[in-house]
């Protein structure tokens, strides 16, 4: 078998132990989805719809106002209409609790968004934001990104490795910008590509993952006719005559008026749908569209679904960056180097000290220490835990504390020897007496480490993980491994004098 030089193990098994962002560089973000805003948007849309609804159903009102983020109040012109109005509204807007009261002598109808619906809207908004960020990060092509929800409305994004922090931040933070623009079918696309763009036009390209038109140029009018904020709904439906999938869209009252005007004036022209500067679709306007429209075209189930999703994505639920950490890759290398150097020197000094102080027994303790470090490294890889800078500190600390168990045992053995016991009896007594103490002491440290793991985040968690592993492995090496070595020499090899 030919072994490539690159495949040979290096000192630090990079492939197996995950290095934290502080060690390998990268970006860590904590985002918060403004779910309250999503609720407000929902009520805003209802408010818009309500105005149309009131007119359509001839409910005479004096006033209509949104009193807070979740409720709307209609003041009726005629008190006698109240039960009819209430009935109509509660039939149409089922997500709301509808009540009536008398305020200043006039009957009012109050609509409050149901709390189950509020939770639902919030949940949907958080899920949508998570999906959106996943899509964008995938598109961005980050290596091994880690994106997961935290709690109800927070999202943690970790992008390890070398990345362009600015670009990543912008990609993730932006809300979808949906625009509608007319297609210029008259202008010369070939000339435009050479740089002679007709006045009032702009060159766009189809989105990169479009199955047929990916990356193709298209000439559009510069003017934006409508933006995503007027859109209230987008879902997949099927054409009743052909059975083909299509995307049904609905605008709010104001958007519907604008859209009706645009479509009326531009029948048989093409209207491009642009999200974040990329053209997704450019269907032909077939008739004047009021309120609700359909985007038809050559869609499969999948592509219709994704277009609907894209349109829905454009409903702005703002995402705020609560926490950001960006570490340059060479800063991380520097940390690893310094951490390793201090670990090696610290370890060497401890090893030397043990040898001088306890002689041959010190050697046994040092073997235990070495096994300890190997076990921690192995444990980190096995549990695919992440090694962070405080984690390295945790390992270094374990080196210091791991010898404690051996010191404890050896001091006890010395005491027993002074009482005149044989080496074997002294070792036995020393281990037996010390075991309980070591167990007690380590369990308490373990408690501290576990609480730290439960409450801590990021780097502190890494520290807690290495500390816990250190405690467990030093329990094993001190109580089982080193004892086995002693017993081998004292029982099997029948050594009579203990070098301690």
């Amino acid at each position: 078998m030919v072994v490539n030089k690159m495949d040979q193990p290096t000192l630090w098994p990079k492939k197996k132990i995950n290095l934290g962002l502080d060690l390998q560089g990268g970006m860590h973000l904590v985002l918060e989805v403004d779910t309250d805003k999503a609720v407000e948007n929902t009520v805003n849309r209802t408010y818009d719809e309500l105005r149309g609804f009131v007119k359509q159903n001839h409910i005479r009102i004096k006033g209509l106002r949104q009193t807070n983020a979740t409720s709307i109040i209609l003041t009726l012109r005629d008190d006698a209409d109240v039960s009819q109005a209430k009935g109509l509204i509660s039939d149409e807007f089922r997500d709301y609790t509808v009540t009536n009261t008398k305020v200043d002598g006039s009957e009012t109808v109050k609509m409050v968004l149901k709390s189950a619906e509020i939770d639902q809207v919030k949940k949907m908004a958080a899920e949508k934001a998570l999906m959106k960020i996943r899509n964008r990060v995938d598109e961005y092509g980050a290596r091994e990104p880690d994106i997961r929800p935290q709690g109800e409305k927070r999202i943690i994004v970790q992008l390890p490795g070398v990345i362009d922090a600015e670009k990543a931040r912008n990609e993730i933070g932006r809300t979808g910008n949906l625009e509608f623009k007319l297609v210029d079918d008259v202008g010369d696309l070939r000339e435009a590509l050479k740089g002679n763009i007709p006045p009032g036009d702009q060159l766009y390209y189809y989105r990169k993952d479009d199955p047929e038109l990916a990356g193709r140029p298209i000439l559009l009018k510069k003017e934006t006719l409508l933006t995503g904020e007027y859109l209230s709904e987008a879902r997949v439906s099927f054409d009743q005559s052909t059975g083909r999938p299509q995307v049904g869209i609905k605008f709010n009252t104001k958007g519907a008026r604008i859209f009706a005007k645009i479509t009326e004036e531009n029948i048989n022209k093409r209207l491009a749908i642009i999200l974040d500067g990329e053209v997704y679709s450019a269907p032909t306007i077939q008739s004047k569209i009021t309120g609700a429209g359909r985007i038809t075209g050559n869609y499969t189930d999948e592509s219709a679904k994704s277009l609907a999703l894209i349109l829905r994505e454009a409903f702005p639920t703002p995402v705020k960056i609560l926490y950001e950490k960006t570490v340059g890759p060479s800063l991380g290398e520097d940390s690893i180097r310094k951490g390793l150097i201090s670990m090696l020197i610290g370890g060497a000094l401890v090893v030397l000290f043990m040898l001088v102080y306890y002689k041959a027994s010190g050697l046994v303790a040092n073997i235990a220490l070495l096994v300890n470090i190997v076990l921690i490294a192995g444990g980190l890889a096995a549990f695919s835990a992440t090694l962070t800078l405080p984690g390295i500190a945790g390992i270094i600390l374990t080196i210091g504390m791991a010898v404690d168990a051996n010191v404890l045992i050896y001091e006890r053995v010395k005491e027993e020897l002074r009482l005149g016991k044989t080496p074997l009896a002294a070792v036995d007594a020393g281990y037996n007496r010390a075991s309980l103490t070591i167990l007690d002491a380590n369990v308490t440290t373990l408690i501290a480490a576990l609480v730290l793991f439960q409450f801590g985040s990021g780097p502190v968690k890494g520290f807690a993980v290495t500390l816990s592993m250190g405690v467990l492995s030093s329990l094993f090496t001190a109580l089982i491994l080193s004892r086995a070595i002693f017993e081998y020499f004292l029982v099997q090899r029948k050594i009579k004098r203990l070098s301690i």
Binding site: V30, L331, S335, L349, K359, L389, I396, D404, T445, V451
Partner: protein
């Protein structure tokens, strides 16, 4: 080889009044320093704000960096040099109210490059921004973590040393619930923790949980003095420092428990001896181990402090102080406290 002679017999317990006085002075000094500095100095983890580490392609002065920052509207930011002192590595702290822009990192990078006329190394650029909400969450979590760790540990100690599993468990459960409930009604966490700690100590006293009391007093002693020294040297509290404090708790407890263990053993062997003699004997018997372990741990921590690099420096400092104070407290504070009950009777 021996550092501490086997037949050593210092009268630690007899001199405990002196030790108490020393500890009291240190604790009062710590509290005084905290008050003088207006509470602990929180790093950006807890206070919010932004921290930037930049490496410039050529040396510049602090004044140049400061004026470059002032040009982009970050006038109050603190600028420190770090690293080897070559004038090319700087640490910039932007206060929470100024760290609001989403592309702050790019602004600072570009601002420094244009303000000083020296390029910024992209590969060594580090940026950390913490929103105020996250800062408060972390602060509360850290304090709660410390408190819960203490409660769990005391249950274990009371159970193992005095077989009072039930009474200490019930007490801790009540305390934990009370703290959790009060936390839900939005009582300020730092105040809550202070009250909870005092209540805990009073309960220990009346429930006669000697060992837990001794251990906890020693821990409060160690943590207070470490925090006080941090405040005295004007160092910042960050998440890794909380990790260091918890490690100190673990370490000091380790020391304390080893002495307690010996006391328990000697109580069984020499049950006729007065407690004072037994405590003193136990401290002396474990002295060699205490000193040796502290020595090896200190060795490692000192290396970490000197060679670990800028980021780990404060962490190592906390451990350094903690190991020293922790060793002292397990000899002079934790065990003599066991004697406090004796005198009352």
């Amino acid at each position: 080889m021996q550092i501490i002679k086997p037949d050593v017999n210092f009268d630690f317990v007899g001199r405990r009044k002196i030790a108490y006085a020393v500890s009291l002075i240190l604790i009062l000094a710590s509290i005084a320093s905290l008050i003088a500095h207006g509470g602990p100095k929180y790093g950006i983890d807890f206070a919010g704000g932004a921290e930037v580490l930049v490496k410039l392609d050529a040396p510049v002065t602090i004044a140049q960096v400061k004026s470059a920052l002032a040009d982009i509207g970050l006038k109050g930011s603190s600028v420190q040099e770090y690293g080897q002192g070559l004038g090319d590595n700087y640490r910039i702290l932007v206060a929470a109210d100024q760290a609001t822009s989403t592309d702050l990192a790019e602004q600072i990078k570009a601002g420094i490059a244009s303000g000083t006329g020296v390029g910024v190394d992209d590969q060594s650029f580090s940026f950390e921004m913490v929103g105020p909400q996250v800062g408060r969450d972390l602060r509360e979590k850290a304090l709660l973590a410390m408190f819960f760790a203490l409660l769990f540990i005391t249950v274990y100690i009371s159970g193992r040393f005095e077989l009072k599993w039930f009474i200490s468990g019930a007490m801790s459960a009540c305390l934990a619930l009370a703290v959790y409930a009060l936390h839900l009604v939005n009582l300020g966490i730092p105040m809550l923790m202070l009250v909870a700690l005092i209540v805990t100590l009073v309960l220990f006293w009346f429930l006669n949980l000697k060992y837990a009391m001794g251990a906890i007093v020693a821990l409060i002693h160690d943590v207070t003095i470490t925090v006080g020294l941090f405040s005295l040297f004007d160092k910042e509290f960050t998440l890794p420092i909380i990790a260091a404090l918890l490690t100190i708790i673990g370490y000091s407890l380790n020391d304390t428990i080893i002495v307690f263990d010996r006391i328990r053993e000697n109580l069984r062997k020499h049950h006729r001896d007065p407690l004072t003699t037994i405590v003193n004997k136990s401290v002396n018997q474990t002295l060699s181990r205490t000193v040796l372990t502290s020595l090896t741990t200190l060795l490692v921590v000192i290396i970490l402090f000197v060679l670990g690099g800028g980021i780990i420096h404060d962490f190592a400092f906390a451990l350094l102080v903690g190991v020293l104070v922790g060793t002292y407290s397990s000899i002079f504070v934790a065990s003599p406290i066991l004697l406090a009950w004796q005198k009352r009777k």
